[in-house]
Symmetry: C2
DNA sequence: ATTGTCACCGCAAACGTTTGCGGTATGGTT
DNA sequence: AACCATACCGCAAACGTTTGCGGTGACAAT
């Protein structure tokens, strides 16, 4: 029971041939006799030989690995994205290294570097909320590591992108609320330096304008997590008292708000309608079920991986693509 | 703008010194003059030099990386575990490679091999539901890669383990239901070849016995996912009709069952009490809130990583440990 | 002038692969 | 007998590091 892994050398010595012969025999190189191939392969199988990925990567200057950085895997959307990435990547012979930034800029920088150190062939990234500076991305790009941004994309960095039509999704769902007769619609907004936050806010504005309703800025609150809902409890209850609908930037915030309101005697949706964004599984579990916008995480992950691997395959740099996934309105019971 | 990464050689040539000098200068080796150190470090910083992790790993015969395999990261418990692992690992200078088996045996085998190929220094594993054969684990163990099992542990393989006291947790929660006067308690059980499924079932049995209630085998159904709840809808409704409480092996199954019952006119908990296991965030979101058993994923992840890294540090093989985390009863509104 | 002591640095091997090239035997043609 | 293919295999370099050892020059002590 040796605590070490078999190398080509071990096989070569055991069979009294050279390392190169073993290497070639394992891939059925025509220069090697069938006899030798058979013997080598048989022995290799018997001792469970597995090539050293690090040595391979060093030699070929690529790791057949793509790195993924998302804010938090606990969110269903991101874990769906990851599943999509994994499925496509595995199917194309790539492995996947997953990291989470925990919405922390520093952690994101460290992750980018760690993945670059491991010489991943490319990166799939969803930017953290606290990231303002984007030098770390430029750096790996300059080192020849392509990046495809997903959902939380960078506006500054030219690259492939995969996004949901956040603007249209938000417009649709707010428009739906308006169509139900709601007029005083509040918005729990995400950070405006992120595309998703901004686009959804813009969609909200657009819908209001289309219905000739003028924006009441007091009805827009920066609040995009259950923790923030708890924190701004008083303000939210006050807001709910003078509104007839709430559109939250994501589903878990919407659900948290719904709970807060219900616990304080509001009847949903009769008094206040609520809508979210993302179609998290939780949206179909809460009562009333949550009206929201479907966002196809799995498909987005697949597409992002596809774009990346395509770019890895080509020499010259093709023009960058932005793939926009349509948003689907999911009308349920909350509004 | 070369699409390639800086190596020690590049620095050496630029500064007209040898590669070894650069290597030593970067780590302030006493053999190198301050002057040279300064020049090298400055230049390295300027061109954003980063050591090649593959070359490093090859040379030192360890990757400073630990591999993690969990069934599905969408489950809050497992993503908490991962966060715990990451935090401790990063703090100890290790990187983390995350894989999910999707509860699929083949995927698990592939993941184990891929991680072994990358020469991770050790493995943290939560076994997939469909895994019966465990040869793939023995194999990497024989290659000298230690494994710490978490939650979904292996009974056959001697190793370090980190688990929750599933037996006691289940006993407590069922005992609580009995204390509330419930007598006809059904159990939605997990697969019995997994420790968690078996232990929780045993805890259920134990609680019954303690209250001198004899087991009605018709009240135990193999059902541990929302999908299965949907699938066995009729059977569950029938069961609910002749029971006054349900104990599900995990929270999302409990919630799915709760929804099914509510949609069919059952009043929870008045007619049927419901309890789950795990204290998923969803447990506090549904109404009535779900009585369940808290399972500290984050702490378990940390502990597993700690055990693994400790084992990596030592030469001789210390005795294997099994760290059991206590279970905490969370009484809420559903039972 | 010889020797010794440092401070500073380079050579080269090694980690596990892949691969271009060259080598040896075998057999068949002239 | 000389030559040429062909089939099969090994040598060695390279990928980017680390590190033991040896080397060089300066300076001081004999």
């Amino acid at each position: 029971m040796k605590p070490s892994q078999i190398s080509l050398r071990d096989i070569a010595e055991a069979l009294d041939v050279s390392v190169s012969t073993v290497s070639r025999a394992l891939k059925n190189h025509p220069d090697i006799s069938e006899e030798t191939c058979r013997k080598v392969q048989e022995y290799a199988r018997r001792v469970h030989y597995r090539p050293n990925a690090m040595a391979l990567g060093l030699k070929q200057q690529r790791s057949q690995t793509i790195g993924v950085i998302v804010p938090e895997i606990v969110h269903h959307f991101f874990s769906s994205v990851i599943s999509g990435v994994e499925d496509l990547a595995y199917g194309s012979g790539y492995r996947v290294m997953i990291c989470q930034s925990n919405e922390d800029y520093l952690r994101e920088v460290i992750n980018v570097q760690a993945l670059a150190d491991h010489r991943v062939d490319g990166l799939l990234v969803s930017i953290s909320k606290s990231t303002l500076d984007q030098q770390h991305f430029r750096q790996v790009l300059d080192q020849g590591v392509p990046i495809v941004f997903m959902d939380r994309i960078s506006r500054e960095i030219p690259s492939d992108r995969v996004i949901t039509n956040d603007y249209e999704g938000a417009r649709m769902v707010v428009s739906h609320l308006l169509g139900q007769g709601r007029r005083r619609i509040a918005h729990l907004a995400g950070p405006q330096h992120l595309c998703v936050g901004k686009e959804r806010y813009q969609g909200y504005l657009r819908a209001l304008k289309e219905h000739n309703i003028r924006l009441d800025e007091e009805r827009v609150i920066r609040c995009d997590t259950p923790a923030r809902v708890e924190q701004k409890k008083a303000q939210l209850l006050d807001l709910a008292g003078r509104s007839d609908a709430i559109f939250a930037v994501n589903d878990f915030t919407a659900v948290a708000a719904m709970r807060l309101l219900q616990d304080n005697g509001f009847v949903i949706p009769e008094q206040v309608a609520i809508a979210g964004f993302g179609d998290d599984p939780i949206a179909s579990i809460v009562r009333p079920t949550l009206t929201t916008v479907e966002q196809r995480g799995y498909d987005m992950g697949r597409e992002a991986a596809r774009l990346l691997i395509k770019r890895l395959g080509e020499e010259g740099s093709e023009a960058y693509q932005t793939k926009t996934f349509p948003a689907f309105l999911k009308v349920r019971d909350s509004g």
